[in-house]
Each structure stands twice: as C-alpha cells, then as structure tokens.
C-alpha cells in the first residue's frame, strides 16, 4: 500500500497539483533520497513514453484521415516517370516494328535488284572503267609518248627525242621510250653536228636511258653548268625545259603541279610545262639551274597534264649503271653555274649540253 501512495504522491508532484509547502517538502525528500529521485525520473519517463504513444496513435489516425482524402491513384499516374514516347512505342510494338522493317528491307532490295540498280552499271563503276580505259589507252600509246615518228620523209631517222649531258665525257640522259626500238642512235648538238652514240643503260620502269657518245669526232664538252637535285622538289615550284620538238630548240616553262604523276605514279611529277612530241628526254630544271627531272610524256585526254621523271630516278639509274657495266661511276658535276643568271643567259649556257636524239630503226 505504501508503494501505491508513493506513486500517487509522485503523480501529484509531476502534475503540479501540490501546494507550495508540500512541494518544497517533497523536493527536499527527493534530494535526500536518491532512490525516490530515481523513482520519480523513471515514472516521468514511462509516462512520457505512454503519452508519446498516445499522441502518435492520434496523429497517425489524423494523417490516415487526411490521406484518405487524397486521390493517390491520379498522383501515382502523374509521378511515375514515363519513358519518352518513342521508347514506349518500341516497348509496346517492337515485334511488329521488326517485322515491318524486315519487309521494308526485302522490298527495297527486291526493287533495286529488279530495276538493275544493284548491277555493276552504276555511275561509280563507269568511272572506274573510264580510268581503266585511260590505262589501256596508255598502253596502246594513245597516251602520247612525246616522240615524233618520222618527222620528215627525207631523213631516214624514225624517232626523235631530246637528251642532255650528264658528264662532259659524253654520257647523255634521255627517255627509255625514245630509244627502245633503236637499231642505232645519233645525237645532234646545237651547232647541228651529229655524233654516233650507243645505249649503255635502260630502265623501262622509270623510263630512263643513258647513252654514251662513241663517235671519234666528239670532243669533250666543257664543265656541265647544271647540277642534279637529289631531293624531291616542292609543289608549285617554277620549272622549265629546253628541247627539240622541232629542228630548232624550244623553251617552255611552268610549275610542278603534282608530286605524283599519271595514275598517282610516284616516279613522276606532273608539270604544267607545255610539251610537244620530241620534247621527251629533255631536262626539267628549276629556277636555280638544278635538274629536277626528265620530261617524258603528256596525257592525251587531259589538257595541260604533262609528266616528268624525277631526277632521283636518274641518279639511281647512274648508280646501277656503274654496277651493271664496266664503265666507271660517272662523276657528277657539283658546281652550278646557272644559279643567279637570268633565264635567257641560263638557256644560252644550257644549249650546248642539250642534244637532239635521232633514232634509226628498221621499220
């Protein structure tokens, strides 16, 4: 019974329904008696939990009441993230779409097949064939090698080209295609004197041929005025040539328009120098008087597209000449006496070293 009364006292104390004296006495007692103090705190806490429980039950019922008024279904509809319509479309109909796409592909392929669009007559193929035609034209000779067949009936030489001196001792460079049908070869200088020469080296691939003047009447030339360029020349570099498309020499100049030649052939430059039959084998020089190539051909169908073998192939030919024959490796001129001169003076110096190549053949 004492415990029950104690509880009532504690509850009255906590509820604040004690009068001032009673309260003071109880607090005094509480301070002195640790056990009582503990009881008060424990009870206070427990009642707190109880009250809290009650509050929460009440709050939850209120919240439930509020919740029941909300149209949750509509909100869920709104809140759910909808994937983009295209994704939805795909998810709902992907099998149908796949079938439709397959049919469409078959239909298109079928139509193309029936109308012949898939056959090899397409525009692209035609272009390829045209290039192929050019190539066959080239082999048939339509791609004009710039040699002149029988220029005058009176003379007995059949082909003419141009050549230029590599050494003062009488080595002449020209094109392979100038001399390949030759029974005998003569070179004629600016003064009109002809010397007999023999072919000492040919390379059909780079279209380079080396002649040696064997005529006893030949006297050594003076020092070669030009040098040979080992490296590749730049695009758009100013170049010129000098040769014998006719009995008198002809000058022509232009620029290197491509570092690759016909059909992308890296042996050649493409140049904008005007060429005529007979120019073949002539020197191509840059403005400083370096030999940069041997002019060789023009393409029949393309206006202004002319070609010249690069000088590096001439140099390579000279290297193999020494290896393949009993001739000593020619000592090339390394002193350029053309650089810095005006073009007419350059030509004047050049003319003694450029020859008209006459080729005699049976037919």
């Amino acid at each position: 019974m004492r415990d029950e009364q104690l509880l009532e006292t504690i509850e009255r104390y906590l509820a604040g329904s004690m009068n001032a004296d009673e309260r003071r006495a109880f607090e005094q007692l509480r301070m002195e008696n640790a056990e009582l103090d503990q009881r008060v705190i424990e009870h206070q806490q427990f009642v707190g939990i109880l009250k809290h429980y009650g509050e929460r039950v009440e709050l939850e019922s209120r919240l439930n009441a509020i919740h029941s008024e909300i149209d949750v279904h509509t909100l869920v509809e709104e809140a759910t993230e909808r994937p983009a319509w295209i994704v939805q479309l795909w998810r709902n109909h992907h099998s149908k779409i796949s079938v439709a796409a397959s049919i469409a592909i078959f239909a298109i392929l079928g139509t193309l097949f029936v109308t012949g669009s898939l056959s090899t007559k397409s525009g692209y193929e035609e272009m390829v064939r045209e290039v192929g035609k050019l190539r066959s034209d080239l082999t048939k000779g339509k791609y004009a090698k710039v040699t002149t067949p029988v220029r005058t009936p009176v003379t007995s030489d059949r082909y003419r080209g141009t050549g230029f001196a590599i050494t003062s001792g009488g080595l002449i460079a020209t094109n392979y295609h100038v001399i390949y049908r030759a029974d005998s070869v003569y070179v004629q200088n600016y003064a009109g004197r002809a010397f007999k020469a023999k072919v000492v080296f040919t390379d059909a691939n780079s279209d380079v041929a080396i002649l040696k003047i064997t005529d006893t009447a030949f006297r050594e030339l003076g020092a070669i005025p030009y040098t040979f360029k080992k490296s590749e020349s730049d695009l758009a570099e100013n170049v010129f040539t000098y040769g014998y498309p006719q009995d008198s020499p002809v000058y022509g100049d232009g620029r290197i328009t491509s570092q690759n030649g016909f059909d992308n052939d890296s042996v050649d430059y493409q140049i904008s120098v005007p060429l005529n039959p007979g120019n073949s084998g002539g020197p191509l020089l840059d403005s400083k008087g370096n030999i940069v190539g041997i002019v060789k051909a023009k393409q029949a169908q393309m206006e202004g597209a002319h070609f010249a073998s690069k000088s590096s192939y001439l140099l390579a030919a000279l290297d193999s000449l020494a290896a393949d024959s009993n001739l000593r490796k020619p000592v090339l001129n390394s002193k350029n006496s053309l650089a810095g001169l005006s073009r007419p003076l350059q030509i004047k110096k050049l003319q003694n070293y450029v020859f008209l190549v006459k080729v005699y053949a049976k037919n």
Partner: protein, 189 residues
C-alpha cells in the same frame, strides 16, 4: 527528366506555428502539399503508393516531434527536410528488403538527416513495445491506463465509467494496471 511536381505550398512558418498551436489544418495543408513529391520519389524507386504513404507519414511524425520538442531550427526548407527524411527512410527500407540497386533516382535536393532518422528509430522501438505491452494488458486495464495517462481523464470519470464504488478502488486498480504494464513493457527486448 527531373520534372518537379508543383503544388501551392503553405509557407514554412505557417506550418511550424500551426503545429505548435495544434492546428488541424496546418498538418493537413503540409500533408497535401508535399505528398506528391514523396510519392514521386518512392514510386520511381521500386516502391508502391502504400510504401509512399508509410514513409511519408513517418517523416511527418519526425517533423511533428521535432517541432513539438520546441528546439526546431529551420536549417533548411520544410520541403527539403521532409524529402531528405523520406529519402533516408526509403534507403533504409530498400536495403532491409535488399531491393536497393545502389542507385536512387533523386528529384529534389536533400540535406543530411541521419540523426533525426536514428532518433525516430529509437522512438519507433519504444512505440512498438508500448503497443504490444498495451495489447497484452487486456481490458479494463488498457482503457483505464489510456484514459488516465493519455486522454488525461480524472479518476472521478474513470470511477464512474467502470462503476467503481469509490475512487480509492479505482486508484488501486490503476496502480495494479500500471505495474503490470511496466512489467510487460520492460520484459520485451
């Protein structure tokens, strides 16, 4: 894709003072204003509308207790606070159900609320224990306890309601009930 659901929300101070003054409408306005936001969070993260309701109500209770405790500081907007608590609670729920894929799709900014959620966890445990203890207590003890301690009825009222001949009898009964309740409550783990 983070579309924000727009609602005409009451101001934060309206809500705080409303709750402090036990205003019915304040809670209702709060509830209605931010439920869609939480619903959006839950249903787009593997939850149902019922999950959203549970989580949201728990968050409201957290907020309610925090305000009622009197030391509520408005460190963030109520909206952000509610969202953060719901987010935290839902993460916890997801990991309990092992449905958490490690990637929660968020729709709002949020603040750290670990402390609040932990406190709430404690309270939930106590609440559960009290609920089952009261359930085990049986009548008339349960009603006597609830009437006296929760509904603040006087012993006189209780006496009349249960037909006790005098208040002392009722007090004795209440005392016995409370002792049993305490026993039931503390027996639980």
């Amino acid at each position: 894709m983070n579309k924000q659901i727009k609602t005409s929300a009451p101001t934060d101070s309206e809500i705080v003072f409303g709750i402090l003054n036990n205003s019915e409408s304040a809670i209702k306005r709060l509830y209605v204003a931010y439920f869609p936001m939480v619903l959006q969070l839950i249903v787009n993260n593997n939850g149902t509308a019922d999950d959203a309701k549970d989580i949201y109500q728990e968050a409201i209770i957290v907020l309610y207790n925090k305000i009622k405790k009197g030391d509520f500081e408005l460190n963030s907007k109520l909206k952000t606070f509610l969202y953060s608590v719901c987010r935290r609670l839902w993460l916890k729920r997801l990991s309990q159900m092992s449905r958490y894929g490690g990637d929660l799709k968020d729709f709002q900014e949020f603040v750290p609320v670990e402390e609040e959620v932990e406190d709430q966890h404690e309270r939930n445990l106590q609440f559960g224990k009290m609920q089952s203890a009261l359930g085990l207590l049986g009548e008339p003890c349960k009603t006597i306890i609830e009437d006296f301690y929760i509904n603040n009825k006087s012993m006189q009222d209780i006496c009349e309601r249960f037909g006790y001949t005098n208040t002392d009898n009722a007090k004795t009964q209440k005392y016995k009930c409370l002792q049993r309740l305490k026993k039931l409550f503390f027996q639980q783990k």
